[in-house]
């Protein structure tokens, strides 16, 4: 059989876990048994992971081994700077300051050194045309650069603000370009917003959006784009007089007020709040030293329900708690000091906590720096153990709110002392890509692995919407497929924990040798 000789013959069907098109290459998902489209060859080729067994090679779920991208600890105050594109290519911003592009199998494709010094709060954003925006605090100013997909310079070093602005936040915008919110250089009481297009041309020149009353002090900013296109902003302020605490507001990308800044919690805390959105709503959370708090708002900025508060004195640092959305509800990961448990709390749109479940693993991730993402019913959590323990990975279900296994899965190389700014992103095909730092021996690292078992099975014989049956052909042969990302790889899932097919796949073709043989 030759490419393009794809003739549906097999009659087997599986439930589609997502919208599937005719000729999509499919894998079976070990979590729910559904079939999903292979996104990246290199990620789908790795099939196994066993919770509690360290990820050390391809058989135990390793995609890209522990890779030191920088020989210094990257001080990325609001989590490490890493993004991936639909081809599975990964971009990182680390150190002082290097932009690196990796292929899905971890090969260094290109690297650009900005040759700066005193860098912190690294941000890297994937813009809607594929360009890469890099924002960084390089003492004493906030600067940005824009590169194309191959790291050719589009916009050279541009200063946004001249000083005094470590704790800014920036996001890419659905309509193109990016927005940034930061503390004014000359007056810490002033927060400014600016936006730029995909080429780095100013759309909104730095504009004051809030002037806080009281005494000057550092302000920690976070922003998120809402389903309406507007921007929700949370600011945690730190000083010792009145008019301090946690504030929120909603603004249009042009800087117009949708909902003026309002006080949520009057306690002064010098950490980044968490903020996340879903269709019609957004949520904000922050521990304040005494309680873990969370709030829900609609897109207009109207608070839903009332303040959600849990007694705890743990987790009081940036990057120790995480607020997520599964598209229906919000989920908060926080730390409860009374019993040293890490807690997973479901927060519903009406503004109340629905249920809280302990998701403490073994080894425990209680009160550790961590990050997490949601994908297809699961939350993948990565935490840095304090001291010399390896990083750990845990998986929780938003169906039950509980861990799939309480056995933490270790990965990477043990440090002498771990860091404070871990980030984990979804790679697709039930994979995770973590970027984290070690204080000693100082380093910044990426690692990619699986967080759920998968196995390539065959091709979709028909296009269906999620939750419908999709007929699958898995017979021996060579077929053309709808384009996927990655590089050409072989795979053998015939002896996986989940039995699948065997063969080789490239971006537009697959050769199958048969199921379970």
């Amino acid at each position: 059989m030759r490419l393009s000789d794809f003739t549906p013959v097999q009659g087997s069907s599986l439930i589609a876990g997502e919208t599937i098109a005719y000729k999509d290459l499919l894998y079976i998902d070990g979590y729910d048994g559904n079939s999903r489209k292979v996104a990246v060859t290199n990620f789908a080729a790795i099939g196994n992971v066993d919770y509690g067994t360290a990820i050390t090679d391809a058989n135990s779920g390793q995609i890209v081994a522990h890779t030191i991208v920088s020989s210094v600890q990257t001080i990325a105050h609001s989590r490490q700077a890493i993004v991936k594109n639909s081809n599975g290519e990964t971009f990182t911003l680390s150190g002082n300051a290097s932009v690196s592009k990796f292929s899905p199998d971890g090969a260094l494709m290109t690297q650009v050194d900005m040759a700066l010094s005193g860098c912190s709060n690294h941000h890297i954003l994937l813009l809607d045309n594929g360009n890469i925006a890099c924002l960084i605090y390089a003492s004493p100013s906030i600067r940005f650069y824009i590169y194309d997909n191959n790291l050719n310079l589009i916009k050279d070093s541009t200063s946004i603000a001249s000083s005094n602005n470590l704790y800014f936040s920036a996001i890419s915008l659905s309509g193109g370009g990016f927005a940034i919110i930061y503390q004014d250089s000359s007056n810490q009481l002033i927060s400014k917003m600016a936006s730029y297009d995909n080429a780095g041309i100013a759309v909104l020149s730095p504009a004051t959006i809030w002037t806080r009353a009281g005494t000057a002090g550092n302000q920690y900013h976070k922003l998120v784009q809402l389903s309406s296109g507007n921007l929700a902003i949370a600011i945690s302020s730190l000083n010792t007089v009145s008019s301090i605490g946690l504030y929120y507001g909603v603004f249009s990308p042009a800087g117009s007020v949708i909902s003026a800044f309002s006080l949520l919690d009057s306690t002064s805390v010098g950490i980044f709040p968490e903020i996340v959105s879903k269709t019609g709503f957004f949520a904000v959370s922050r521990p304040n030293g005494t309680n873990q708090k969370a709030y829900v708002f609609n897109n207009s900025g109207a608070q839903q329900g009332s303040e959600i508060s849990f007694a705890t004195t743990a987790g009081n640092a940036s990057n120790k708690t995480k607020l997520l959305s599964d598209g229906t509800d919000f989920w908060l990961i926080w730390h409860r000091n009374s019993d040293s448990q890490c807690i997973f709390t479901k927060i519903i749109s009406s503004g109340s906590a629905d249920k809280s479940v302990s998701i403490t693993g073994s080894p425990s991730q209680f009160n550790f720096y961590m990050d997490a993402f949601y994908e297809n019913g699961l939350v993948c959590i990565v935490a840095l153990q304090s001291g010399s323990g390896k990083p750990l990975m845990l998986v929780a279900s938003t169906k039950t709110g509980a861990l799939l296994s309480a056995s933490s899965t270790l990965f990477g190389i043990a440090p002498s002392s771990s860091g404070s700014y871990p980030r984990v992103i979804a790679g697709g095909d039930r994979s995770f890509i973590a970027m984290f730092d070690y204080a000693t021996t100082a380093a910044t690292i990426i690692f990619a692995g699986k967080y759920m078992k998968t196995a390539v099975i065959g091709l979709a014989q028909n296009g269906v919407a999620a939750s419908n049956a999709v007929r699958i052909t898995s017979g021996v042969g060579a077929y053309d497929i709808n384009t996927i990302g990655g590089t050409a790889v072989s795979f053998d899932h015939t002896t996986n924990k989940i039995v699948g097919n065997k063969g080789s796949m490239a971006v537009s073709s697959v050769s199958l040798r048969g199921m379970g043989v």
């Binding site: 890779t67 030191i68 991208v69 020989s71 690297q111 050194d113 190389i413 100082a442």
Partner: protein, 125 residues
């Protein structure tokens, strides 16, 4: 165990496999080190395994004579060189701790300079 050194910081990392530089990355088995130009890191050379006569010839004439004279009064040195003189001994593995300990001992006895010890351990056949 193979090692790789970060040149500017002089940090040395134990790695699973001898470092190989491929496309901007030092591949070392369980660890990888990004190095765009291949100049930021360097593999730490593994001491060689040499024949007995090759090992003895790594020492200068003066060093060999001084060590031979010391054998009559120093049991540690005599024991080590007796092993070398045993006809069943064919090779000397310079990575073995006992060999490196003897070289250190020769340094403490004033029979070998410290930099000469480093030269012997870094010998590449």
């Amino acid at each position: 165990m193979p090692k790789i050194r970060h040149i500017s910081s002089d940090n040395v990392f134990d790695v699973a496999k001898y470092p190989v530089f491929i496309g901007g990355v030092w591949e070392c088995g369980s660890q990888r080190f990004v190095d765009k130009t291949g100049t930021a890191y360097a593999p730490v050379a593994i001491p060689a395994k040499v024949s007995v006569i090759e090992f003895k010839l790594l020492f200068s004439n003066e060093e060999r004579v001084a060590i031979a004279n010391a054998r009559s009064t120093n049991q540690l040195i005599d024991d080590f060189y007796s092993l070398l003189d045993d006809t069943r001994t064919q090779n000397v593995d310079l990575s073995l701790p006992v060999v490196q300990a003897m070289l250190d001992y020769l340094v403490t006895q004033g029979l070998l300079a410290s930099d000469r010890k480093d030269q012997i351990l870094s010998y590449a056949p």
